[in-house]
Amino acid sequence: MAEVRAEIVGNVWKLLVAEGDAVSAGDTLAVLESMKMEIPVHAPVTGVVGHVPVAEGQIVQEGDVVVVIEGSSTDA
């Protein structure tokens, strides 16, 4: 399991994945809006999207979990 966290405080501008989606390492999972920059949140590992604890428009702090990836290749 990999918890993908926000690297900066900001607003969840776009959520590009939902629970159950297969993702590859490097895929963009979400885009945060902070400092008028579109800050992509990338998948660190390949796996399946598990829990998505945030919604579009929500403010996240640095370090908050944005997406959880289950069954990631690091678990194998």
């Binding site: 902070s34 400092m35 579109e38």
Partner: protein, 502 residues
């Protein structure tokens, strides 16, 4: 019987001066066997750092109670240039620092300072040797004093290959760059057992002072690598960008053109829309000489890049915002990272080459509580004090205080340019319009449309770099593909009096 005894003594007698010496040397080779997980002996580490066959050990017989001094110190060459090395010998009392070990380190430090050669410390020490009491502390303090003295004279590099605890941890912090070996090197003031006894906190050595913790979070280490060989190789690479001493000749090599593919991509690299991120490394590839480059602190304060590279064959220190990490913002951590790097480059005469694309200082309670004002000011001070050439290029956004902090001409940059598509302004178009046209926006039937239109006008009329160029705040407006040649010409002019051009 008597006859036999005499014969025996007589047989042993040929152990003349030559044999005694050879035996002493053989014993010494045994003494420096590694223990535990460590891969190499103290002597092997010194030899790995240096060009093959060039290591000369100072006072190899120096010993404390017959066990050895606890440090293998001496000198040799790195790519043909002299370097001093002091390598802790963990086979002697776990490298704990007593007065004799301290004496050996200080002897190496004095040699480096007096002769003007860089010094590399290979650290593997449990800290002050408790058995030696106050004499151990006195020795540690003596090393620190010479660390500080050396700061103004020669580059100092610390390689952490084992524990580096208590007093031993301060010496690396007084040197310029610290390289740690993962899972093997640890730095902390107090190890897990004392931490548990003192506060009840239950933490592993890795969590308290592991290489990744220090390279990512604390910033105490500037590189984390996987093996001793990699660590010593990184030290060699680092030295290749540095002069032997302050004021010494730069290690200029044959100029190499920038990577051809990256150079051709340069005009299209930076997205026109200022909110879209890109990888600043690709910009560096398109401007700097192709060839070896060493990024320091790559995992700490990642929105800022600090890289040693070459331009026109000359070593330069590159400071650049990294939009691909945290949007390229400035904050307390990245400001300290940049300030430290600029100060180092200036001290050893390396030109500071700055590439700017910064959305600003990250605002908010978290940063203010971290003291971002104090830390940001360190960047201003470092640039303002820099005595080596400072060349600055605004490649996209340069807003507000962050624009000044990124080596603006007002702080003393020798030359500064802005790409034709860049924006330099006291604040970003969105924020500026909200402030300047507050009433008009409140009165508007369609404030969103008005805001966008005014922001576009602001971007074109106020933030374009021509205003800055007309005011002499940047020297010129240039195209991406002109960047390298423009910087090279200026760098040649600025470094001409050094007279060391290849």
């Amino acid at each position: 019987m008597t006859q036999n005894a005499v014969t025996t003594v007589h047989d042993a007698a040929p152990a003349g001066p030559r044999d005694v010496l050879l035996q002493r040397r053989a014993e010494r080779a045994v003494r420096v066997e590694p223990r535990g997980r460590r891969e190499h002996t103290a002597r092997e580490r010194a030899e790995m750092l240096l060009d093959a066959g060039t290591f000369v050990e100072m006072t190899p017989m120096r010993s404390s109670g017959g066990a050895g001094s606890g440090v293998v110190a001496g000198w040799g060459l790195v790519e043909g240039r002299p370097v001093v090395v002091a390598s802790h010998d963990a086979a002697v009392a776990s490298g704990a620092i007593g007065p004799v070990l301290a004496e050996g380190v200080m002897k190496a430090q004095r040699l480096a300072i007096e002769r003007g050669y860089p010094i590399v410390y290979v650290n593997d020490s449990g800290g002050a040797r408790i058995h030696d009491g106050i004499f151990a502390l006195h020795g540690c303090g003596g090393i620190f004093k010479l660390n500080v003295e050396a700061q103004q004279v020669v580059p100092q590099i610390s390689v952490i290959v084992g524990p580096c605890a208590g007093a031993a941890a301060y010496s690396p912090a007084l040197t310029d760059w610290t390289i740690m070996v993962r899972e093997q090197g640890h730095m902390f003031l107090t190890g897990p057992e004392i931490v548990r006894a003192a506060t009840g906190e239950d933490a592993t050595a890795e969590a308290i002072g592991g290489a990744d913790m220090h390279a990512i979070e604390s910033g105490v280490a500037h590189l984390a690598v996987d093996s001793e060989a990699e660590a010593l190789d990184a030290a060699r690479r680092l030295l290749s960008f540095l002069p032997s001493h302050k004021g010494g000749a730069q290690n200029v090599q044959d100029a190499r053109p920038a990577d051809e593919v990256a150079a051709q991509a340069l005009p299209h690299l930076v997205p026109e829309k200022s909110s879209i991120v890109f990888d600043m490394h690709e910009l560096l590839d398109g401007v700097l000489d192709a060839g070896d480059r060493l990024e320091l602190m790559p995992d700490h304060g990642r929105s800022m890049l600090t890289v040693l590279g070459r331009l026109d064959g000359r070593p330069v220190g590159v400071v650049a915002n990294q939009p691909a990490a945290r949007g390229g913002i400035l904050d307390a951590i990245s400001a300290v990272k940049a300030a430290r790097f600029v100060e180092f480059c200036s001290r050893f005469g390396l030109p500071v080459v700055t590439f700017v694309d910064v959305p600003g200082f990250l605002p908010g309670t978290v940063e203010e509580r971290r003291g971002v004002i104090t830390h940001g000011a360190k960047m201003l001070k470092a640039y303002a004090e820099a005595t080596s050439p400072v060349l600055t290029v605004v490649v996209r956004k340069a807003y507000g205080g962050a624009y000044i902090a990124m080596g603006a001409s007002s702080l003393g940059a020798d030359a500064s340019w802005a790409w034709a598509s860049s924006e330099i302004a006291v604040m970003g178009p969105g924020g500026a319009v909200a402030l300047l046209h507050r009433r008009a926006l409140q009165a508007s039937d369609d404030p969103a449309e008005l805001r966008d239109r005014l922001a576009a006008e602001y971007r074109e009329n106020v933030a374009r770099p021509y205003l800055a160029a007309e005011a002499g705040i940047v020297d010129d407006v240039i195209l991406p593909e002109e960047t390298r040649s423009t910087m090279v010409e200026t760098l040649r002019m600025l470094t001409h009096e050094a007279g060391h051009r290849g």
